[in-house]
């Protein structure tokens, strides 16, 4: 690791000031991704501000929904009674990611900011990576791209967002609370993440010095009818090739879907809200041909790059299976 200096933030303001003052300064929470990238030489901060002692660990009921402090550990959120009972898809998604050891360290805020696991981004011995070195090119487009994006990618970057948790948060319409040098604001999750476009180095719309303080999930009466499907190369402890978070609001008795919330992981630069599939399913019964047509509508614009062509059909089938599983759940 390159040398850096280290201080511990005494307050949120203290942390924001320290990081705003110098572009080479970074917040460190759980550190599970940042330290790994520092060892690889991808991240090279001159100074780290340790935010672990800030009072941002609470998980509480908030405006009928839930507020999760940015420094709550992934384990604490996954195991929290309110989340397990009201939004089990979020617990499931968190538990699908990483290992127990990593979830014990990783924070909610840090998980939002995970960097891609694109091989070319992660290894600076590859010169081409527009995310790591803007303007240098994308080695993945013509390289090994089995794990790469099929939706919303650009000619400059086909990386995917690696998180499971954020897929569930996207389906649940989460809102991100941040505090920065210009004050506090709320960012709905669709506006938090960016597609790569011509600036893949910018993954979120966070401004310099802004610190995530909490994640809010609004109330959702039907949150129990939810499911997280994760498809990966091994049964545990691997990133998703494709994942699907589904929450369904269904009419009792008739079995018609009033509203579907669907988000996909492993397919794009950000957790992908499957709006086309959601619209297709609204007002219909979850029959096999209906779910298939919804999945086809969502993947219509999908594009493979050779190694990841298989993901397009995998994503279609994963949507069908996830929606079908949620629809078949009893609401007991």
């Amino acid at each position: 690791m390159r040398p850096f200096t280290y201080t511990r933030a005494a307050s949120i303001d203290d942390a924001v000031k320290a990081v705003s003052a110098n572009s080479g300064t970074r917040f460190v929470g759980g550190g599970t991704n940042l330290l790994d990238l520092m060892k690889m030489g991808v991240e090279r901060p001159a100074h780290l501000v340790d935010i672990n002692r800030l009072p941002l660990t609470e998980i509480i009921e908030h405006q009928g929904g839930i507020r999760m402090g940015a420094l709550a550990r992934n384990t604490d959120a996954a195991n929290h009674q309110l989340i397990r009972t009201r939004y089990p898809v979020l617990s499931q998604a968190i538990l699908a990611g990483a290992s127990q050891q990593l979830r014990n360290m990783a924070t909610m805020g840090g998980n939002l900011l995970q960097r891609t696991r694109c091989y070319y981004f992660y290894d600076p011995s590859y010169e081409e990576c527009n995310k790591r070195t803007p303007g240098s090119g994308c080695a993945a487009i013509k390289g090994v791209n089995r794990i790469h994006a099929i939706l919303g990618a650009s000619q400059t970057c086909i990386a995917t967002h690696p998180s499971d948790m954020c897929v569930a948060l996207t389906a649940l319409d989460a809102r991100i609370q941040v505090t920065g040098p210009k004050g506090s604001r709320t960012i709905p999750i669709p506006e938090f993440y960016r597609l790569p476009g011509d600036t893949p180095q910018h993954e979120t719309n966070l401004q310099p010095g802004e610190l995530i303080t909490a994640i809010d999930v609004p109330p959702l009466a039907y949150g129990k009818r939810s499911f997280y499907l994760k498809i990966r190369d091994r049964q545990s402890y691997a990133f998703a090739l494709v994942s699907v978070a589904v929450v369904l609001d269904m009419e009792e008795g008739g079995g018609t879907i009033r509203r579907a919330h669907i988000a996909l992981g492993g397919v794009a630069h950000k957790p992908w809200r499957a709006e086309k599939a959601e619209q297709f399913l609204a007002g219909k019964k979850p029959e096999a041909n209906v779910m298939r047509a919804a999945a086809e509508a969502e993947l219509k614009e999908a594009k493979g790059y050779g190694g990841n062509d298989f993901k397009i059909e995998l994503a279609r089938r994963s949507i069908v299976r996830a929606v079908g599983t949620a629809a078949a759940m009893s609401q007991a």
């Binding site: 460190v28 790994d36 397990r84 089990p88 538990l95 290992s99 127990q100 050891q101 990593l102 014990n104």
Partner: protein, 232 residues
């Protein structure tokens, strides 16, 4: 105590360790002495009682105080020092292993404030005031921890490199199961009840610890044995 004296006492400790190792090797350079010389960032280990920061602490170094297996340590460290490197290189507690050093293998698993973590992906400085338990802290004198005994009894190892991490992980696993913490394979998360331990649960919960020798069947058997209260 001056930093010279502290360095001196560390050198003496190293010499003693080298003498022990030299009895087992013929190359003339001890593995630990070689590894020690290759570690960047000079580090001074101070005794825990009455310790003060040395007058000549390297610029940018931090004082860190943490308790490892019940013993408090106050140490001057380079900010880059991971908890794993602090344990192995500064405190010479080499039971905790460095495998991948990227949080992918679990060999470095230790318990911090009772929770298992990958000590390779966390800075020692972030653990000021924390309680750390390593594999060295599990046994009570000559009495092995039940999980250690079960790993031996059930052949939960071959080469042994991943074993300290596996055992720390397995000890934490049983606490997690007792407290009702779910895993990805736990059915119906919204029903909060005691975890129904199964082979599938053990495998999922141990997936952060890789064993290249493939001693998994023995590891699962060892976890079952301790869970059931049978250590042999």
């Amino acid at each position: 105590m001056s930093s010279d004296a502290a360095t001196d006492s560390r050198a003496k400790a190293d010499m003693k360790e080298n003498e022990l190792e030299q009895a087992h090797q013929s190359s003339g350079v001890s593995r630990r002495a070689f590894a020690g010389s290759a570690i960047p960032g000079a580090v001074t280990v101070l005794p825990s009682e009455g310790a003060q920061a040395p007058a000549t602490a390297p610029p940018g170094s931090l004082e860190c105080s943490l308790t490892v297996n019940g013993q408090e340590h106050k140490i001057q460290i380079d900010p880059r020092t991971t908890l794993l490197d602090l344990l192995r290189e500064n405190l010479h507690m080499t039971g905790t292993k460095k495998g991948c050093d990227h949080g992918q293998c679990g060999a470095c698993t230790v318990l911090v404030n009772g929770r298992r973590i990958n000590s390779c992906l966390t800075l020692a400085a972030m653990h000021d005031g924390d309680q750390v338990t390593t594999i060295e802290g599990l046994a009570k004198g000559a009495d092995l921890h039940p999980m250690q005994a079960a790993f031996i009894e059930h052949d939960g190892l071959q080469c042994g490199y991943c074993t300290p991490g596996q055992i720390c992980s397995a000890v934490a696993l049983l606490d997690e199961v007792k407290s009702g913490a779910p895993s990805f394979v736990t059915s119906n998360l919204s029903v909060i009840k005691e975890v129904n331990l199964t082979d599938e649960e053990i495998k999922e919960r141990m997936s952060g610890n890789i064993c290249r020798c493939g001693a998994y069947a023995g590891i699962v058997a060892a976890v079952w044995a301790v869970y059931a209260g049978k250590t042999a």
